[in-house]
């Protein structure tokens, strides 16, 4: 087998999606527990400890890895679930935990020194001193970089920090510094940072008015669509706002990130792993996106150009972007 080109890290919101990801060629799968300890705490999603153990078994039998995201910030007076999640992940044989909170990192470092720790994108470490700080105090082995850096900036970080980097290759684009964004709780009262659900579906509503559809989060209108117009998931940062008398996607357009077109550049930047976003998405999404990236990485590893592939059906708003990787995004 040729040396690995880039590690392919794939989402699993359910045990079925974990198997789909492994079968489609994921090197590594990440998942979370069925509670507020992970940043995709949506109804019906995620793993109980038994399912996690079975999932890890399925992956390990096939030589793949499983990471457990415990990447929200515990509420004061209620750190138990987060500490238990770290303990459960260790007991289930997870290959690493993905953490963000200083207290949870501290706990995992002291209680499970042998368990590999990755720094979640929720910790929003976008610069060398932060990464150095987390490595120094918590021995983090890998950092998941925020989706706001250019390829040149990623390369500089790899060079400066010497820590493995995992970058987003496919999925939604988050323009805000993650883990420190209170827009959703401002509109709903539920905090993505501690409850793990940005724009919780319980607060999302679609209202038809005069032949148009309004998307609302809490009592706030985020967008207005004409019939058939592409829509984004109604998070506050994908809403349409009026400034200076003009309505626009002030923060981010309804587009999805797709790095398939410039994988060699990410490889050259020294990136270790590619992350596919979307634990809230379906098995079908997982199979299709993972399969497409697997084929591309295998071709590149053989020195061949990746096969042409279209994934626009899977992206937000049906449109793709290179996000911050290319100049001009800011």
């Amino acid at each position: 087998m040729s040396p690995r080109y880039l590690e392919l890290v794939c989402p699993a919101g359910t045990p079925a999606a974990l198997r789909a990801a492994v079968d489609a060629g994921a090197d590594t799968v990440y998942c979370g527990f069925r509670d507020c300890t992970n940043a995709r705490n949506y109804p019906g999603l995620n793993f109980d400890p038994d399912e996690l153990r079975e999932g890890i078994g399925y992956a390990h039998e096939r030589g793949r890895h499983v990471l457990v995201a415990i990447n929200t910030f515990p509420r004061a007076g209620d750190q138990g679930p987060w500490q238990r999640a770290v303990d459960e992940a260790a007991a289930a044989g997870a290959d690493a935990v993905i953490l963000a909170d200083l207290g949870v990192l501290d706990y995992a470092t002291r209680r499970h020194p042998g368990l590999r720790r990755h720094l979640s994108v929720q910790a929003s470490a976008a610069n060398a001193p932060s990464i150095a700080f987390y490595r120094e105090h918590f021995g983090i082995r890998r950092v998941v970089l925020p989706r706001v850096l250019s390829i040149a900036e990623v390369a500089a970080l790899v060079e400066e920090t010497g820590v493995e980097t995992e970058v987003f290759a496919f999925g939604s684009v988050g323009p805000m510094s993650e883990g420190r964004c209170f827009l959703s709780s401002y509109l709903t009262g539920l905090s993505p940072t501690s409850e793990g659900a940005c724009a919780p579906a319980s607060h999302v509503a679609y209202v038809e008015r005069n032949g148009e559809v309004l998307s609302r989060l809490g009592t706030t209108t985020l967008n207005r669509f004409a019939p058939g117009e592409p829509a984004a998931y109604p998070t506050p940062c994908k809403g349409r706002y009026v400034t200076l008398g003009r309505a626009s996607y002030l923060f981010e357009e309804p587009v999805g990130l797709n790095a398939l077109g410039f994988l060699p550049e990410l490889k050259a930047a020294g990136v270790t792993a590619l992350k596919i976003e979307g634990r809230q998405r379906s098995r079908a999404y997982v199979s299709q996106v993972v399969g497409t990236f697997r084929a591309a990485l295998d071709a590149l590893a053989r020195g061949e150009p990746p096969p042409a592939a279209a994934l626009t059906g899977e992206t937000e708003g049906g449109r793709e972007t290179a996000g911050a990787y290319r100049r001009g995004w800011r």
């Binding site: 910030f73 515990p74 509420r75 004061a76 007076g77 750190q79 963000a100 909170d101 200083l102 207290g103 501290d106 706990y107 910790a123 470490a125 976008a126 610069n127 060398a128 001193p129 932060s130 150095a132 700080f133 987390y134 105090h137 706001v148 850096l149 400066e160 323009p175 805000m176 510094s177 420190r180 964004c181 209170f182 827009l183 709780s185 401002y186 509109l187 009262g189 905090s191 940072t193 501690s194 309004l214 809490g218 706030t220 209108t221 985020l222 967008n223 207005r224 940062c237 349409r240 706002y241 009026v242 400034t243 200076l244 003009r246 309505a247 626009s248 002030l250 923060f251 001009g328 800011r330």
Partner: protein, 301 residues
């Protein structure tokens, strides 16, 4: 407990981009007239703004110190270069207390006295104990924290705990500049267009509700966070410092009325009425501290 020292009023860092002259005049008036104990200076939002005020900064700090204020230098909330962290080391050498607003700053501050700012997530006892063990003297708690969590965190440790009780509440920070975007400019060629809006730029929904305030790379609430009715309970729960965040209005008057109310020289209804007179049509919000959506206003009981 009668041993508790009186609560300190602080003036948070100016988040908006004001012309240098105006910024200087503001701080000189604060030095002379505002009944605040602590003044935070420094640029939190955008490194491109820093050089504008740099020539006046040191003299302002001296005047504030001469007036008996504790001066704290706030860092950027989103550090992007190692140089920005090195600059912190230089400030440390000059003996300034630093408010760290990005974990990057803790890299150089760990082991030395410092303030942990509201842009670093300290939501629980574990995170609190970690930063206190590394030299934090005081923690400014995130605006999203409900009163019960504030009480749990502030109950432990000999440190100070600070909560913002006046001014638009910061909601997010980004690499992207939304002021530039709204003006169809790139961040690299923004010409500091954020300077046009000394009180930020209002963003409304497509059906006409004012909901957010844009301040360069930062997004804030549209309404002023007003925790007048909650201040006494916060102090009772262990909060030692109350922060007033500068807005484009008479901040000296705001500081006076908070001080008067905290000292028992003014009752709550009168304080709210006086504050309404100063803030004009901008609504009040206090949902976060009540564990509700941040844009809610829970009137004092």
């Amino acid at each position: 407990m009668s041993a508790r020292p009186p609560v300190r009023l602080t003036l948070g860092p100016l988040l908006y981009h004001w012309p240098a002259q105006r910024r200087r005049d503001f701080y000189l008036r604060v030095a002379d007239e505002a009944p605040v104990d602590v003044v935070y200076v420094g640029e939190v939002v955008c490194s491109k703004r820093e050089s504008v005020f740099a020539p006046w900064r040191d003299s302002v700090i001296e005047r504030l110190q001469a007036a008996g204020k504790e001066v704290v230098l706030s860092t950027l909330a989103l550090v992007t270069t190692a140089r920005e962290v090195e600059a912190i080391e230089e400030e440390l050498a000059r003996g300034l207390l630093i408010e760290a607003n990005d974990v990057a700053c803790l890299k150089v501050l760990a082991g030395r006295p410092h303030v942990v700012g509201p842009y670093i997530n300290v939501f629980n006892e574990g995170a609190r104990d970690f930063v206190l063990a590394r030299g934090a003297l005081r923690i400014v708690l995130p605006v999203e924290m409900p009163a019960r969590s504030i009480g749990t965190v502030a109950a432990g440790g000999a440190a100070g705990f600070e909560v913002q009780v006046f001014g638009r509440q910061p909601l997010s920070i980004a690499m992207r500049c939304y002021h530039a975007r709204a003006h169809n400019r790139t961040k690299d060629h923004c010409q500091l267009v954020c300077g046009l809006d000394p009180d930020g730029m209002t963003a409304s929904t497509v059906d006409g509700a004012d909901v957010l305030t844009i301040n360069g790379t930062q997004t804030l609430t549209h309404g002023h966070g007003v925790l007048l009715g909650e201040a006494a309970a916060l102090v009772e729960a262990g909060v030692t410092h109350l922060r007033l965040s500068p807005q484009d209005l008479d901040m000296v008057a705001v500081a006076r009325l908070y001080r008067e109310m905290l000292d028992g020289r003014r009752d709550l209804p009168s304080a709210i009425e006086a504050l309404r007179a100063l803030t004009g049509p901008v609504p009040f919000v206090n949902g976060f501290v009540h564990g509700r959506e941040g844009l809610a206003w829970v009137p004092p009981a």
